[in-house]
């Protein structure tokens, strides 16, 4: 969807052929999302089928040149004037992994979190290094700088979420310690994330976060 709209927006600035579109797309986004030229041509074919672009013959070197139609212009305007839809959350491997790590016995959740935090921090350091280089004010550098910022803020959000998960898991483990292992029978303590699943194996978290648990 985004590639289709991006190509259409590029075509709105003048007729172009496939290779040109690919080069310009990658230039403006700093090569963050590489396109193969086949993808560009299938997208163009679909845009042509839907009446958003048309072929105006070939240039001197035999490249098929595409031009935006008036419907295509409307489509671009509509894209820029509407927010990006947040419908289904994308399938997030990390969230899925953590959800399973806290509910499968024998997984050291703390290590899962720290490994991920370290890896994401390394990526964040790489993005920041690139950002330090992209300081120019011309529109292309600016475009790339903003794409980098988007990657930076996403990586930061992931680390903040990991910090939050860790803090919450620690608190749960601590509350259980304070309650004392022998105060009530194991498994009957208040366990907000377990209540919707009464049949779940008892205290999966205690096994992973808290040595000296009930077993």
């Amino acid at each position: 969807m985004s590639v289709r709209n991006a190509l259409l927006a590029l075509l709105e600035q003048g007729p172009r052929y496939g290779y040109q579109l690919r080069a310009e797309f990658e230039d403006r986004t700093g090569g963050t999302w590489p396109l193969n030229v086949g993808q560009v041509y299938t997208t163009l074919a679909r845009l042509e089928r839907d009446g958003f672009v048309e072929v105006r013959g070939e240039d001197g070197d035999g490249h098929v040149v595409y031009t935006v139609t008036s419907r295509g212009r409307e489509e671009v305007a509509a894209w820029f004037s509407s927010p990006v839809a947040r419908t289904q959350p994308p399938r997030e491997e990390l969230a899925i992994k953590l959800a399973l790590a806290v509910s499968v016995p024998g997984v050291d959740v703390g290590t899962v979190i720290q490994q991920q935090r370290s890896a994401t921090m390394a990526a964040l350091q790489d993005y920041t290094r690139l950002k330090r280089r992209a300081t120019g004010d011309d529109p292309h550098e600016l475009a790339w700088g903003l794409v980098l910022d988007s990657l930076v803020f996403n990586a930061e959000a992931e680390i903040r979420w990991l910090d939050h998960c860790e803090a919450r898991l620690r608190r749960v483990a601590q509350d259980r310690d304070d309650g004392g292992p022998s105060s009530v029978e194991p498994g009957s303590s208040v366990e907000p994330f377990e209540t919707p699943r009464p049949s779940a194996p008892q205290e999966p978290l205690a096994e992973t976060m808290n040595e000296g648990g009930a077993r």
Partner: protein, 238 residues
Amino acid sequence: MNAVLELDTVTRIHGSGATEVTALRAVSFTAYAGELVAVMGPSGSGKSTLLTLAGGLDSPTSGAVRVEGTDLAALGQKGRAAMRRTSIGYVFQDFNLIPALTAVENVALPRELDGAGARSARKVAQAALDEVGIGELARRFPDEMSGGQQQRVAIARAIVGERRLILADEPTGALDSETGEDILRLIRARCDAGAAGVLVTHEARHAAWADRVVFLRDGVIVDESGNDRPDALLESAR
């Protein structure tokens, strides 16, 4: 490549008996010249303790803190104060400028306290303000400047007179994201020019400006990310 700051098996225990709290537990940590290291951790992890020890504002219960090869404990109170005026630059979250002094007077103060003549102290202070991009605000008082400008003054004060160790405690905490980034650029530039920097922060986006990120949990370094400096690897192999 030389180590500017070395923490050698440093432990810091606050209080005693039942209220005893171990803030740092046998932490070893080195910052080399030309390197910016970030220390990340939740509150209570020991990151501020690490920085106050590095700056000679506090002493370890055991272990040694060395700045440019000198053991801070061996210096005594007076020697450490002199070290702070000449070798160590400290940047705080809340700027810590003296409200009754102008920007250039704030920056010149450590030099003057160190016995430099007022004129020469002013001269280097002006140069430091120029370096952080606010040379024209030299005669303003802190309350006549924005937060970002005040933090620049604080950085000028931290780097004045070729200091080689810069310690920054959440230096961007009170600033918006764009202004905070400018401050990190300045600290980064100083490290690229040969200083060693230690940046304590809980914001990943800011820690990412560092060459290395050290993760602290309950007073222990649990992990490190970023490229090891090749020369650091060489030294450890020796």
